[in-house]
C-alpha cells in the first residue's frame, strides 16, 4: 500500500506491515492478523483464518445424530451447550419431536450458565489484553471453576459435555441440582461484582477503551454482526427475544444495548448480560418441575425425513445457526454452521482502521472470537 507524497524528490511512502502471528500472547486462538501501519495508525487489516479448520462440516456428514453432538462441542468450545442446542433443535425440527418441559427448562438453565462462563472467560482474556497483569484472568478462571464443577457433576466432563440429545437430555441431572445451582449463582454474583469493580469503572480502562473501535449501527447490520457486537452499537436484536426458542418467552429479562459502539460498550453489554443470565437461571429454577427428560417413544435409530431446516440460537458470541439438509437416513446430508465469530470478524477492518496499533489488540479482544467456531 503506498501513499504518494507531493514533493520534488519523488518519494513513495509505504506502510509497514506488522504481523500479529498465529500465536497471540493473549490466547484468542490461532488467528493471524496483518496490520498495515502508517506510523502508529492502522490503515488496513488483513485477517488470516483457517489455522483450526478440521473439516468439521464434512465430518458431521459421516456421523449420525448422536455422534455429531460431540463435534458441536468442539466448535464453540467456550459455549458448548449453545452449540449442542442448535444441533439438537435442528434434528428435533426435522423429525418433529416434542421435547418434554423439564428437559427444556434444564436446557435453558445450562445454556445460561454456559453464557456466564463464556463471558467470564471474555473478561479474563480482555483484561489481559488491556494490560491488567493477570488479576482479571485469575479472577475469571476462579469463577469459571465453580460453573465447570457443576457441569462436571451433571455431565461428567469439564469442557466437552455432549449432554444434549435429540429429544431431551442424555440422563437426569443430579439430586442436589437445586442447591448446587443456588450455590453457583451466589458465586457468580460475587464474581460479576469483583470483575465489575476491578475493571469497568477504572479510569485507565475507560481511557483505553472509550471511543476506540467504533462501529455504527448501520455498518454493524451491513456486515452481519450479531450478539454483543451488534448490541453494543445500539441495535436491540437478540434471538432469545425476537424469535424465542426453549422457554425464553416465559421468563423476564432485559436486553442490554450500548450507545456508541465502541469497545467499552461491548464490555459493558457483556457484563450486563451476565447479570441478566443470573436472573434468567433463578426464574427457571423456580419453574422447574419433576418429569421425564426424554419423550416416551423415541426411536432407537434416529432417521430424519427429507427436508432442510435452519435453526438459530443466541450463543454468547452472537447468532449461532445450524442449517441442516437431510435426504432421509440417519446422517445429515449437509450441515452448515453459521458461526457468529466468522461473521463478526468481517467487521474487524471497519473497526480498526484509523485507530492506533496498540488498540488493534483491544478491538480484536472485544470481538471475543473463538477459533473453533470461526474455522470449524
Amino acid at each position: 500500500m503506498t501513499n504518494a507524497v507531493q514533493s520534488d524528490h519523488d518519494f513513495e511512502v509505504q506502510d509497514i506491515m506488522i504481523n500479529m502471528g498465529p500465536q497471540h500472547p493473549a490466547t484468542h486462538g490461532v488467528f493471524r492478523m496483518v496490520l498495515a501501519v502508517d506510523g502508529e495508525i492502522v490503515r488496513d487489516v488483513i485477517p488470516h483464518i483457517g489455522y483450526m479448520h478440521r473439516g468439521g462440516e464434512k465430518l458431521s456428514e459421516t456421523m449420525d445424530f448422536r455422534q455429531g453432538i460431540g463435534f458441536m462441542d468442539r466448535t464453540e468450545y467456550l459455549a458448548q451447550f449453545n452449540a449442542e442446542l442448535s444441533y439438537v433443535m435442528a434434528v428435533e425440527a426435522l423429525m418433529d419431536i416434542q421435547v418434554p418441559e423439564r428437559a427444556q427448562w434444564i436446557r435453558m438453565i445450562l445454556c445460561e450458565l454456559n453464557r456466564l462462563s463464556s463471558h467470564f472467560m471474555f473478561t479474563g482474556a480482555f483484561g489481559t489484553d488491556s494490560g491488567v497483569f493477570g488479576t482479571a484472568f485469575t479472577y475469571a478462571f476462579r469463577w469459571r471453576e465453580e460453573i465447570m464443577d457443576l457441569f462436571e457433576e451433571i455431565t461428567g466432563d469439564r469442557l466437552m459435555y455432549a449432554y444434549f440429545r435429540p429429544g431431551g437430555l442424555a440422563w437426569e441431572v443430579t439430586d442436589n441440582f437445586a442447591q448446587r445451582v443456588k450455590y453457583v449463582l451466589d458465586q457468580c454474583r460475587q464474581g460479576i461484582k469483583d470483575v465489575d469493580n476491578l475493571i469497568t469503572n477504572n479510569e485507565v480502562f475507560k481511557a483505553r477503551t472509550q471511543n476506540v473501535g467504533i462501529i455504527s449501527a448501520e455498518d454493524a447490520i451491513d456486515w452481519g454482526t450479531t450478539g454483543p457486537v451488534l448490541r453494543g452499537s445500539g441495535v436491540p436484536f437478540d434471538v432469545r427475544r425476537d424469535e424465542p426458542y426453549l422457554f425464553y418467552d416465559q421468563v423476564d429479562f432485559d436486553v442490554p444495548v450500548g450507545q456508541v459502539g465502541d469497545v467499552y460498550d461491548r464490555w459493558c453489554v457483556r457484563i450486563e448480560e451476565m447479570r441478566q443470565s443470573v436472573r434468567i437461571v433463578e426464574q427457571c429454577m423456580a419453574k422447574l418441575q419433576p418429569g421425564p427428560i426424554m419423550p416416551e417413544r423415541m426411536p432407537r435409530m434416529l432417521r430424519t425425513p427429507p427436508g432442510e431446516v435452519y435453526i438459530r440460537t443466541e450463543a454468547p458470541r452472537g447468532e449461532y445457526g445450524i442449517y441442516m439438509v437431510s435426504k432421509g437416513g440417519n446422517r445429515p446430508h449437509r450441515l452448515k454452521i453459521r458461526s457468529a465469530c466468522f461473521t463478526n470478524l468481517q467487521a474487524l477492518k471497519d473497526m480498526s482502521v484509523g485507530n492506533y496499533v496498540a488498540d488493534a489488540v483491544l478491538i480484536l479482544g472485544s470481538l471475543d472470537i473463538v477459533l473453533g467456531e470461526t474455522d470449524r
Binding site: S130, G134, A207, G232, V255
Partner: protein, 377 residues
C-alpha cells in the same frame, strides 16, 4: 559513620568496605524483592506464588538466576558491540550509586552528602541513556521504537518528579537527606505536602516502567521493547536495575515523605527502631507498587505523555509557586504549615478531578430494554 571512617580504618579500606556493603545489600534485597513480588502478586490473585523451589519457594530467585546464567549469550550480528554490551551496565549501575546517599537511620548511610537529594535524582536518571543504547545497539527496528518510547516517557516524568522534590526541599531548606529526615521528627512531610507525595509516587511508577506505565516494556502486543535482543544474564541485569531502582526510590520516598527513621519517636528509641521504621515504610511503598501492578490496565503511550505534560507538570509547577509564595512571608511555623497543607490538599483535589475529567465525559451505562413492551421487529 558520617565523615569518620569505620572503626578508624584507613580511607581506602573504609571505602572498599562501604562498596562491599552497597553491593551485598543491594543484591540480597533485589533477589528478595523479586521473590516478594511474585508472592504478593499471587495473593492479590487469590493463588499461591512460588512454593516448590526451596521451603515456601524462597530459593526461586536463586533458581531464576541460575537459569539465566546458563543461557546462551546471543548477540545480533550487526549489533554495535560496545553499545550493545554496555547498555545493561548503564541501566543498573546508577541505581547502585544512588544507594550511597540514602539514609537508613538518622546516623547511618554510606555517605552523608550535602546535596544528597539532588545526587540521588540525578544519578537515577542516567539509566535513560542505557535504554537508548539498548535500543540502538540492538539493530532491530522494534527495539529502537520501544527504546524511544521508554525514553520519552522517562524524560516526561522526570520533570514532575524533580519539581515535587524541589517543593519538599524548599520547605526543609536543605538538600541533605539526613536533614530532611531529622526535620520530620514530629510530623512526616506527607501531612504538609500530600501533592508532592502523590506526584512522587506516580512519577516513580513511570520512571521504572511499572504498570500502569509499562507500555515500552509490556509491549507484548507487538514486541518486547528495548530488551528484545537480550538474553540470559544481560536481560536479567535490566531487571536487576528495575528492582534496585524500586528499592532505592522507595527508601528515598520513605525518607523524604514518610519521615524515614525519625518519625515517630526515632531519636529517642535508638538505631534499631529507626532501622525498623525505615524498612517498614519503604516496604509500604513497595507494597503499594505491587498493588497498583495487580490492579490497572496499561496506558497507551500518547495518553501517558498527555497525562504527564497536561496534568502532572502544571500541578507540580503550581505547587512550587504556591509553596514559594507561602514561605517568602516568614509566617509563624504553625500557620505556615497549615497553609502549606491546605494548598497542597487543594492540589490533590485538582489532580483527582483532572483524572476524572480527562477520560471521556461520563456516559450512562448501556440502556436496557424490557422485553415485552418493545415491538419485536
Amino acid at each position: 559513620m558520617m565523615t569518620e571512617t569505620l572503626f578508624g580504618l584507613p580511607t581506602g579500606v573504609d571505602a572498599a568496605i562501604r562498596l562491599l556493603i552497597v553491593v551485598g545489600v543491594m543484591t540480597v534485597v533485589v533477589m528478595a524483592l523479586i521473590y516478594l513480588e511474585r508472592k504478593v502478586l499471587a495473593r492479590f490473585q487469590q493463588r499461591l506464588g512460588p512454593t516448590r523451589t526451596g521451603p515456601m519457594g524462597l530459593l526461586q530467585s536463586v533458581a531464576d538466576a541460575l537459569k539465566l546464567i546458563s543461557k546462551e549469550d546471543i548477540r545480533p550480528k550487526n549489533a554495535d558491540p560496545w553499545v550493545f554490551e554496555l547498555a545493561p551496565f548503564l541501566v543498573f549501575v546508577p541505581t547502585f550509586l544512588g544507594f550511597v546517599a540514602v539514609p537508613f537511620t538518622i546516623a547511618w548511610q554510606v555517605r552523608e552528602l550535602e546535596l544528597g537529594l539532588l545526587y540521588v535524582l540525578a544519578v537515577s536518571s542516567v539509566n535513560i541513556l542505557g535504554w537508548v543504547m539498548a535500543g540502538w545497539g540492538s539493530d532491530n527496528r522494534y527495539a529502537i521504537l520501544g527504546a524511544l518510547r521508554a525514553v520519552a516517557q522517562s524524560i516526561s516524568y522526570e520533570l514532575p518528579l524533580v519539581l515535587a522534590m524541589i517543593s519538599v526541599a524548599m520547605v526543609a531548606n536543605s538538600l541533605n537527606l539526613v536533614e530532611i529526615v531529622r526535620q520530620q521528627a514530629t510530623v512526616p512531610n506527607i501531612v504538609w505536602q500530600p501533592l508532592p507525595a502523590l506526584l512522587f509516587f506516580i512519577c516513580l511508577l513511570a520512571e521504572m516502567n511499572r504498570p500502569p506505565f509499562d507500555a515500552p516494556v509490556g509491549e507484548s502486543e507487538v514486541v518486547g521493547g528495548p530488551y528484545v535482543e537480550y538474553s540470559g544474564i544481560r536481560w536479567s541485569m535490566f531487571f536487576l536495575g528495575e528492582y534496585a531502582a524500586m528499592f532505592i526510590m522507595s527508601l528515598l520516598g520513605a525518607a523524604v515523605f514518610l519521615g524515614g527513621g525519625a518519625w515517630p519517636l526515632g531519636e529517642e528509641l535508638g538505631v534499631g527502631w529507626q532501622l525498623a521504621l525505615t524498612v517498614v515504610k519503604a516496604g509500604a511503598i513497595i507494597f503499594l507498587m505491587f498493588w497498583t501492578r495487580a490492579s490497572f490496565p496499561r496506558l497507551r503511550i500518547d495518553q501517558m505523555m498527555s497525562f504527564s505534560w497536561k496534568i502532572l507538570l502544571p500541578a507540580s509547577i503550581a505547587q512550587i509557586l504556591v509553596t514559594g509564595g507561602i514561605l517568602v512571608y516568614n509566617l509563624p511555623s504553625g500557620l505556615e504549615h497549615t497553609l502549606l497543607a491546605v494548598t497542597s490538599a487543594i492540589g490533590v483535589l485538582f489532580v483527582y478531578t483532572a483524572i476524572n475529567r480527562s477520560v471521556a465525559t461520563p456516559r450512562p451505562r448501556p440502556v436496557v430494554l424490557v422485553r415485552r413492551s418493545e415491538a419485536a421487529r
